[in-house]
């Protein structure tokens, strides 16, 4: 029996440096797409995609491998987990805060108004249901007049 070379906590800590390529202010831990780490035989990282067609999926996998290789981990495997599917509920409260500071309104519960990330007004208007990426919509604040992006609730 070979003792595991790494501890899962250590790996998770290293993974909290890996940024999402489309919203670089969020790490993949904030986004909630790391589903687990198994260190019994090499290092296996379980990741879940946000959307089926998310073009960032491969880029994220490569960043994970690169981040661990940088720390000297040799035997790395990525496992894609689909169930349960990712929703915006997986974004951590830390992640929601970072989104807001970055200028993206975090996903709101059903029927709650979207708040302007700049002035906190809920007097906002949807400009387009579709934005620069699949997960975002375009909004405008009617008080401070700032246009902003809203992370759609999924």
């Amino acid at each position: 029996m070979v003792e595991a070379q790494y501890k899962a906590e250590q790996i998770l800590d290293w993974l909290s440096d890996v940024a999402d390529p489309e919203i670089p202010v969020l790490t993949i831990m904030d986004l909630g797409i790391v589903r687990g780490v198994d260190c019994t035989d090499g290092v296996e990282v379980a990741l879940t995609p946000t959307y089926s067609g998310c073009p960032a999926t491969e880029a994220i996998e490569q960043s994970v491998v690169a981040a661990l290789e940088e720390r000297g981990v040799a035997d790395i495997r990525i496992k894609r987990v689909l169930s349960p599917p990712w929703t915006t509920d997986w974004i951590s409260s830390e992640g929601r805060k970072k989104l807001k500071i970055y200028g993206i309104a975090p996903p709101e519960r059903r029927n709650r108004p979207v708040e302007c990330p700049r002035c906190d007004s809920s007097n906002t208007e949807r400009v387009s249901e579709f934005g620069s990426t699949a997960c975002k919509a375009s909004y405008k604040c009617l008080d401070c007049l700032e246009p902003f992006e809203y992370f759609k609730c999924l």
Binding site: S52, G53, V81, S128, F130, T133
Partner: protein, 252 residues
């Protein structure tokens, strides 16, 4: 046919539906009537291509002969694609594309939802991911159907014509063949009779909200599920497969 072989063919068929509709929507990139629609269409096309990738990858794993997503997508001849004839129909005008989306997505949502409860864990997982996306797509396409149907006299008439023209491709969705039966009996898969009933109700509601008339059931086209396609399919495939056919094994 063994249950396993049927499952692989079933999963591949689902992948074909997603891929071919995704390809049709990609043809519309940079041709949408407005910017919001442009982004919606491109994003939805990406969802479908992504679903096809997951389904093909899974079919390849279950098959165990080393075929990957690209082999399924790019290196099969026409008759090996088993998508519904509906999804390969040309984009036509915006009313045609909208009607095609509504008819297919209202079916796909019900099918995928039933598959989330099927006995195969891998397929159920993919269905759970995909159904959320298609539900969103359907919401969007239904809104457009209402805007077009309940719009001007011109848009109403043209959209009604699209509905009449594409209706003949809806019968095939519910024609249960051996693969569907094995999925239902061995894997607790969808019962297409039940899906048909739910679909009719759902479509009737959307069509009525759009002030359009539900066409009468007449002659129904079929063949897609057996690999017999409409004449449009070869042209679509030529475009889709061009790169891999010209530079076999090309990667980036």
């Amino acid at each position: 046919m063994t249950p396993d072989a049927a499952l692989i063919r079933y999963v591949t068929r689902l992948g074909d539906n997603s891929l071919i509709l995704g390809q049709r929507m990609i043809e519309l990139v940079a041709a949408s009537p407005e910017l919001e629609e442009e982004l919606a269409n491109a994003n939805f096309a990406l969802d479908y291509i992504g679903q096809a990738r997951m389904l093909y990858t899974y079919a390849g794993e279950r098959e165990g002969r080393g075929r990957g997503e690209d082999d399924f997508a790019f290196l099969r001849p026409e008759h090996e694609y088993r998508n519904l004839l509906l999804v390969e129909q040309p984009n036509g005008h915006f009313g045609d594309s909208t009607v095609r989306a509504v008819l297919f997505e209202s079916f796909y949502v019900l099918l995928l939802d039933a598959l989330t409860r099927c006995g195969d864990e891998g397929l159920a997982g993919i269905a759970a991911r995909a159904v959320k996306e298609v539900r969103y797509h359907l919401k969007h396409s239904s809104q457009w159907l209402v805007r077009l149907g309940d719009g001007t006299e011109e848009s109403h008439a043209r959209t009604q014509q699209s509905l009449n023209d594409l209706w003949r491709y809806t019968g095939e969705m519910f024609a249960s063949d051996d693969i569907d039966k094995i999925m239902r009996d061995e894997f607790d898969g969808p019962d297409l009779n039940v899906v048909a009933e739910q679909w009719r109700k759902a479509v009737a509601a959307i069509v009525s909200a759009a002030t359009l008339e539900l066409p009468e059931d007449g002659w129904m086209a079929s063949g897609g599920k057996d690999g017999r396609h409409t004449e449009h399919f070869g042209f679509l495939l030529a475009d889709l497969q061009y790169m891999q056919r010209t530079y076999p094994g090309a990667t980036w």
